[in-house]
């Protein structure tokens, strides 16, 4: 990229007075000595001048009294309730008011996280996880009831029996 191309944007900023002093001086010196950049400067100034002239001329024709009368009329006229409501809603959702979205978003997130805590029914989700089992040498079985997802840990009896009703106990074991 040539120096002129890289300076294109800087010329606009220089004309706007937005360059630091050192850069401003450098651009000014370059524009004074470069035909292309000098032409760029003239084009930008012409655009600005023309637009400014048009709008200034139009605004000069604006009379204050009729404008103020109309503004006063609007102030004094009670607006329909639905227009008031629309304006209130619009002011609430304007950019600065998006700050209200912060607590609203927090509420939503907390509500979402809390969903799991709300019981859908006492037996809706009774799922339990078994992290560890030590049956001290006995056999053990894990069951899960289909509908309620209830976890059942079944401890088998010691074959040699510690209970008097071993036979009964054996018969009463779960049939699975």
């Amino acid at each position: 990229m040539s120096q002129c191309e890289s300076l294109q944007e800087a010329i606009g900023r220089w004309l706007d007075g937005e360059l630091p002093p050192a850069d401003s001086e450098a651009v000014r010196d370059h524009v004074a000595s470069c035909a292309d950049c000098g032409a760029e400067r003239r084009r930008l100034e012409k655009i600005q001048l023309t637009l400014g002239t048009i709008l200034t001329a139009e605004a000069a024709r604006l009379e204050f009294a009729p404008l103020w009368r109309e503004v006063q009329h609007r102030i004094e006229t009670k607006r329909p309730w639905h227009e008031e409501l629309i304006e209130t809603v619009q002011s609430l959702i304007s950019v600065p008011r998006l700050a209200w979205a912060v607590p609203a978003a927090i509420m939503l997130v907390l509500g979402f996280l809390s969903l799991g805590k709300w019981p859908a029914g006492s037996e809706a989700n009774n799922y339990a996880s078994v992290e560890s089992i030590d049956a001290h040498g006995r056999n053990v079985a894990l069951l899960r009831e289909d509908e309620t997802k209830t976890t059942i840990i079944w401890l088998y009896q010691d074959p040699e029996g510690e209970d008097e009703n071993v036979e009964e106990s054996a018969k009463s074991g779960p049939a699975f």
């Binding site: 037996e123 049956a135 009703n165």
Partner: protein, 153 residues
């Protein structure tokens, strides 16, 4: 956009966040757990289902016993990271220790003993307000079944 946040609104948001965090934290860390141990007798004779066990019919279905009878209910409040012993019919004892509470699930360490002899040690995570069934030891011609439920408080 940051510059457009009016100070009072920003303060409100921060205060709200702090409050929401406090409420959520309060909900997340229960002070104690209410544990109920229901001792149930299950037998292969007869066809009786104790009305006191209403609500457990579906849960006990896989066990395929023919009769069920409520023996004893005991409820205790166990402090966070604490433990309590429950008396269980047949000279047994059930010790329940609370471990952790996360995602609305209660971690418990459970030990069933017969006198001094451990029958089973297990670590489980059950749903808050849910239960787990532990059964198998012989009792009075049938089997002993324990329903262990926990509610975070």
């Amino acid at each position: 956009m940051l510059k457009n946040l009016r100070n009072p609104v920003l303060l409100f948001s921060l205060a709200f966040l702090a409050l929401a965090g406090w409420l959520h934290a309060a909900d997340s860390a229960p002070q104690s757990v209410l544990v109920t141990v229901r001792s149930i007798w299950a037998g292969s004779k007869g066809d009786d289902f104790d009305p006191k066990l209403k609500g457990l019919e579906q849960q006990l279905k896989p066990l395929k016993h023919r009769s069920y009878r409520a023996l004893k209910d005991e409820t205790q409040t166990i402090p966070w990271q604490g433990s309590k012993a429950f008396e269980v019919p047949g000279g047994r004892s059930l010790t329940v220790a609370t471990q952790e509470f996360q995602n609305d699930r209660i971690g418990l360490k459970i030990r069933l003993t017969q006198g001094d002899k451990p029958l089973i040690d297990t670590t489980v995570k059950i749903a808050n307000k849910g239960n787990i069934i532990l059964g198998g030891p012989a009792h009075e011609g049938g089997s002993l079944i324990l329903s262990i439920s926990a509610v975070a408080q």
